[in-house]
């Protein structure tokens, strides 16, 4: 059982393959470029007009802090991550390469792990570039607390892990890229919007929704410079569960063949 004994050696080749194909097409560059411009632009000029207390943009607020940028992350990534991951499995199925992939003498978990790792790295690279470019601007303008930036990025890495795993799971469940994107955006968008319903929901349900919301787990701690073990465990659990379901779905198809 080489696969069990050395799982890394099985995951990394698939991750490399995915990254290679991502960087060979211009789509990844365009997506990264757009994100690097869009996220800081929203932060600088628009602020965060969602929720009970809208937050002002950088120039209007006049404070050297990235909190508004971090508020945008869960919402923007809820649409960007499904766009990045929509082709992970559905495109393989459509092109018929999934059958070839599944004939390799490796476990489905290794393939899913490789795809997850590649998409997560790509999404994190994009987020880190956008965040750091905005952080450099803010640091040039005032006394920025860099610790909150690093902790925010750590939290973003965990948030992305959960988002990527869910988006890939939904990509594995659908046969079309567009359907995968729509399902992913819908699921993650709904998860993002959970705290908005807290005001109109009964007590117990409100608490449950808040506990289930990735937005709350990110904005309540990492975005403020706090490393909260419970929040990191939440993201890790969501990522593991989504990856588990992803493996089950693909394994089911493999067994049927």
């Amino acid at each position: 059982m080489t696969g069990l004994a050395r799982p890394r050696s099985r995951v990394l080749p698939f991750a490399r393959r995915e990254l290679r194909s991502a960087f060979e097409s211009p789509v990844a560059y365009v997506a990264i470029g757009l994100f690097v411009l869009l996220l800081p632009a929203l932060f600088f000029f628009l602020g965060y007009p969602v929720g009970v207390v809208p937050l002002p943009g950088l120039w209007e607020g006049g404070q050297a802090s990235l909190i508004v940028l971090f508020h945008w992350l869960p919402l923007l990534l809820a649409f960007v991550v499904p766009a990045l991951c929509m082709g992970s499995w559905s495109e393989e199925r459509r092109a018929g390469t999934e059958e070839v992939l599944l004939t390799y003498p490796v476990s489905v978990a290794a393939v899913a792990g490789g795809k997850f790792l590649a998409s997560w790295l790509l999404a994190f690279l994009m987020t880190a570039l956008a965040t750091l470019s905005a952080a450099l601007t803010v640091a040039a303008l005032g006394d920025l607390d860099w610790n909150t930036v690093w902790v925010g990025l750590l939290g973003a890495a965990f948030l992305l892990a959960a988002y990527v795993a869910v988006a890939q799971c939904l990509s594995a469940a659908s046969g079309e890229q567009l359907v995968a994107f729509l399902l992913g955006a819908l699921a993650l968008g709904l998860a993002w919007s959970l705290p908005l319903f807290v005001r109109i929901l009964p007590g117990g349900l409100a608490g449950l929704l808040e506990a289930a919301s990735p937005t709350q787990h990110f904005l309540g701690s990492a975005a403020r410079g706090v490393v909260d073990l419970a929040d990191l465990v939440y993201f890790a659990l969501v990522a593991i569960a989504a990856l588990g379901v992803n493996v089950l779905l693909v394994e089911g198809r493999r067994c049927r063949r």
């Binding site: 909150t148 902790v151 005001r199 349900l205 608490g207 403020r224 379901v245 067994c255």
Partner: protein
């Protein structure tokens, strides 16, 4: 082996698609349940949290730990809370307060006894809540439709050695401060007494809808800071000093605010309060202005009146004298609203000074932890060279202006427009060099009494009977501290005119300064550490201001000609243009750098891929 047994084994080895789908569905559901359960278990039991932010606002403060460490007996914590809250928002608020309370109790579990009472279901709990004067809030009831309203209870009572302290409305975002300050008060054997004398005792202006009443409402009042201080201390109105009644024994810190022409006997009683070791804060100020119109309050005595009083002579003999001149601080000027010809105008007013780091002393606790304090139309304290302190008294400057400040003669009408300010500033700049002036100073030591060896002044006539006989005046027997501030508006009630920039007054840092002063003067420095837990202001660079300074927009001659004015307007436009350009460049450079990195990486990656493809192609050909 039977044929049926063989079929079963085959079915197990190669399950049908339907069985596989069910399998996947069940496992997915199981994984979902495990995730939800795991996350809520983690939420409840994994309380490990590290606050790495510079402000450290999300971890228990060292001051709170020190207060909890001082508990000798058990503190009974009675939480009056509705257990089943249908309103989602209130349910979350209760949960957050409860989580923070658990965290605080976990600091020393043996020191606390938690009792949770639900007045919604228990009549006994309801009676106790009513005895404590707690009131429920009205929630919206459950369900998407809103439902009937419900009573939501959330209040806290702390009991310790027969004493009680209450938090009627715990707020999740400041619960630690609320809890620790109440606990701190509970652990002390007696509550600190804060006395008030002077303007805070003036009758409030008449309420009414006519223009005069509305203007009167914008004159100074001091109820906000007093009520905040009274949350954990005793608020004492000091009356009858002129009639020969001494400052009450229970007063630890006496605020004398905009005193005017103090009666000689009142001045004597204040002096004797200091001679007994009482702590004094004197806020001297000129006439009261309406922030709305800039007009003076009619009938005010101002500093002229005070300068005729014996209290002025006493303070001067201790080394403290406040000038009638007003400070104009160009560096730390503040935007304020001015009602000008029926319209709101924003004035960047150098007479409204927001003192920041560099102007707040690092040497003493009351100012060490402050971020900023706003002073309005302030007056400087004379330097030690001009008014020397007596032997045995040490002066510490607490608050100073920036280096870019000037002294101006008292203005009888506040500047009404930006142009007005610019003209007067330019005039000042032409006349004198800028300097740094002291706004507040503390004097500590043994103060000589001006009445030493003399008799107490005669009291004013009283209608409530004869005052107690004055003893022999005491002088320089015990240590005390006197703080003198050249402004009283930092204690004024904040005012909101419904316009974008209200007049902050005491909410511009003054309230914190007052609370810190009281705690410092009553030797209660733990609370200062607790109170300093506010986010650090991190203002952005003012590109427009920098460019205007570079181009010399403010250095205009007040008697400039039309051509000069046009030239200055052109300069101001150019400064704004240059500031805009700098803003854009500051935003674009990092973003373009990030794009460049991505582009370079792509080019490198694709170059390497092409090269390796060529190499492998050549290898294949060979």
């Amino acid at each position: 082996m039977s044929a049926a047994g063989g079929n079963d084994r085959a079915a197990l080895a190669h399950p049908s698609a339907r069985a596989l789908r069910w399998n996947a569905l069940l496992t997915a559901a199981l994984l979902g349940v495990i995730t939800v359960l795991g996350a809520s278990l983690a939420e409840r039991h994994l309380t490990r949290r590290i606050d790495l932010s510079e402000d450290g606002l999300y971890a228990v403060a060292p001051a709170t730990r020190r207060i909890v460490d001082r508990i000798e007996d058990r503190v009974v914590v009675r939480l009056f809370a509705t257990e089943e809250v249908a309103d989602g928002q209130y349910a979350l608020r209760t949960a957050r307060v409860r989580a923070q309370l658990d965290e605080l109790i976990a600091l020393s579990p043996e020191s606390f006894e938690l009792q949770v009472l639900d007045p919604s279901v228990s009549s006994e709990a309801r009676k106790r809540a009513a005895d404590a004067r707690f009131r429920p809030r009205q929630g919206r009831g459950g369900g998407l439709g809103g439902g009937a309203s419900e009573e939501v209870w959330l209040s806290l009572e702390l009991g310790y050695r027969g004493r009680t302290a209450r938090i009627p409305e715990p707020m999740p975002w400041q619960f630690e401060t609320q809890f620790a300050s109440r606990l701190h008060g509970l652990l002390s054997d007696r509550r600190i007494g804060v006395g008030w004398f002077g303007a805070p005792l003036d009758p409030p202006p008449e309420a009414g809808d006519d223009p005069q009443s509305r203007i009167a409402a914008t004159f100074s009042r001091f109820s906000y800071v007093r009520s905040r201080l009274a949350e954990d201390r005793r608020d004492i109105e000091v009356r009858g000093l002129a009639e020969g009644r001494p400052v009450p024994e229970e007063v630890d810190v006496l605020f004398v605010v905009r005193p005017g022409a103090v009666h000689p006997r009142a001045a004597y009683e204040i002096d004797q309060f200091v001679q007994r070791g009482g702590r004094l804060v004197v806020c001297l100020d000129d006439h009261d202005y309406s922030v709305l119109t800039g007009a003076e309050r009619p009938g005010g005595e101002g500093l002229e009146g005070f300068e005729q009083s014996a209290l002025h002579r006493a303070l001067k003999s201790w080394g403290a004298e406040v000038s009638r001149q007003q400070i104009w601080d160009k560096t730390w000027r503040t935007r304020r609203l001015q009602f000008n010809g029926g319209r709101w105008a924003l004035v960047n007013d150098p007479m409204v000074i927001t003192v920041r780091e560099g102007g707040l002393s690092d040497e003493v606790p009351p100012t060490q932890s402050l971020r900023e304090v706003q002073f309005w139309w302030a007056h400087p304290l004379a330097t030690e060279g001009m008014v020397p302190t007596p032997p045995g008294v040490v002066r510490t400057d607490l608050v100073t202006t920036s280096d870019g400040s000037w002294l101006n003669q008292r203005v009888f009408q506040l500047p009404r427009s930006a142009m007005d300010v610019t003209r007067q500033l330019a005039n000042l700049q032409r006349r004198t060099d800028p300097g740094r002036f002291t706004l507040a100073a503390a004097f500590s030591g043994r103060f000589p009494s001006p009445w030493a060896g003399a008799e107490a002044p005669e009291p004013a006539e009283s209608i409530v009977g004869a005052p107690p006989a004055a003893g022999v005046p005491r002088s320089a027997e015990v240590d005390s501290t006197v703080v003198v501030v050249g402004d009283a508006d930092w204690l004024r009630d904040p005012q909101d005119f419904g316009a974008p920039i209200p007049a902050l007054f005491s909410e511009g840092g003054g309230r914190l300064f007052a609370e810190n002063l009281v705690d410092w003067l009553s030797l209660d420095e733990e609370l200062i550490g607790l109170r300093s837990r506010v986010p650090t202001p991190r203002p952005l660079r003012d590109f427009v201001g920098e460019e205007e300074a570079k181009l010399g927009v403010f250095e205009a001659d007040p008697y400039e000609t039309e051509t000069e004015r046009a030239e200055r307007a052109r300069k101001a436009d150019r400064a704004r243009g240059r500031a805009r350009r700098r803003q854009w460049l500051t935003m674009l450079y990092p973003a373009l750098g990030a794009l460049l990195i991505v582009g370079l990486f792509g080019a490198l990656w694709n170059g390497l891929q092409t090269r390796s493809a060529r190499t492998s192609g050549r290898g294949g050909d060979a």
